[in-house]
Symmetry: C2
Subunit: 225 residues, 2 copies
């Protein structure tokens, strides 16, 4: 990280007590209950994620985010105190866009369920998410809470979905209850991350199917179809 400036000076401008300036810092803003264009927030966060996915944390500049969101730089700093906090917020807010567990497929077989989770749209979306992950990784060592945010927003949902599907397979007696489904549920996210981050190869259907048929199903004792 390049410039991690002096960290939060003058939380209250106590030197001049004349009156509140037109543009007040973000924290005060929220607390004073001023009205703001609330539709700008998600647009800016989305722009930040785009730039992050494309250029990485250090390649990303606030000007890029501002121009992509057609916003002024000042507008961004009115809402977030620093670049770091903007990104943490952006990544944290990704969680909302995850599909709820109620929408999980239920085909009757584990393989059917796992295959059903492969959809063109989810592949593309997953690609972007892991690009964001790559952009964020550089910053993780300085802001550990970001690791949690990224994990919660990007890999945990996938792992959780896998875990539920496998648990259901155990419950219906399809696979052995001794399977280490906790570890197994992490295999696909880890392999996807490895492929995108290190091999720089985009995800496709064949790859995901080979993970299912070559690793997951054999590991839980199901014969290759």
């Amino acid at each position: 990280m390049s410039h991690v400036q002096t960290e939060q000076m003058n939380p209250t401008p106590s030197s001049v007590s004349e009156n509140i300036p037109a543009d007040v810092p973000a924290e005060l803003h929220a607390k004073l209950g001023r009205k703001r264009d609330l539709t700008r927030d998600p647009e800016i966060l989305e722009a930040a994620l785009d730039v992050l996915a494309e250029t990485g944390y250090d390649g990303m500049t606030i000007d890029m985010v501002a121009s992509r969101a057609k916003a002024g730089k000042a507008t961004i700093y009115r809402r977030w105190p620093s670049k770091a906090e903007l990104i943490i917020d952006a990544v944290s807010c990704m969680r909302k866009n995850n599909l709820p567990t109620s929408e999980l497929p239920d085909t009757g077989t584990l393989r059917g369920d796992l295959i059903a989770m492969i959809k063109p749209q989810s592949i593309k979306e997953g690609d972007r998410k892991f690009q964001i992950m790559a952009g964020v990784l550089a910053m993780i060592s300085q802001a550990p809470e970001l690791a949690d945010a990224a994990n919660t927003a990007i890999v945990a949902p996938r792992a959780q979905a896998n875990l539920l599907l496998m648990q259901r397979a155990i419950d219906r007696g399809e696979i052995s209850a001794k399977s280490d489904i906790q570890t197994l549920s992490l295999v696909t996210p880890a392999m996807i991350a490895h492929r995108i981050l290190i091999l720089r190869t985009p995800i496709n259907r064949e790859f995901l199917v080979s993970l299912i048929d070559g690793i997951i199903l054999p590991a839980v004792g199901l014969p290759h179809p």
Copy 2:
């Protein structure tokens, strides 16, 4: 990445043709066959890897590398034209330190071989390698050749070792020849990377054993011991 400067100006100082200065740039240096303290190169590269593992690409400064190697900043720039090339060189040179395949264990069983590869020293060394990987990831999008270098130096050797052990297990009839050992050989590196990069949890013996007993062996049809 912060400062990716203007990229290679005046390859030959044609403006002044007086004589060659005492300290010539690195490229000329090598070509002219001047004598240099060759023992400094690996020390500087090693220092660069240390700093890289600790602070990441953008956190790393040339001054840090110089002082860690007890070298002058100018000495580094005499040998490498830029920070980026220094790091690419450092990562590329890691390959040499990998143990040759001839030293692979041969216990007679796949599980025995895989377990035998877990040694305290290899865990520690692996930890550092993947920290370096984390540091390098930020830069990969701008220098794709670095992805190859990192892959070749860090994950490929592990995968290759796994692959050989599994192939031997097939050859001796221990496991089915239909096993997708190509994909399986990537599981441990990918899971290790995931754990270090995203979960920020250090590797230990229990984790590696659970990968072997919970995923690899079940996936090739060997019963849990």
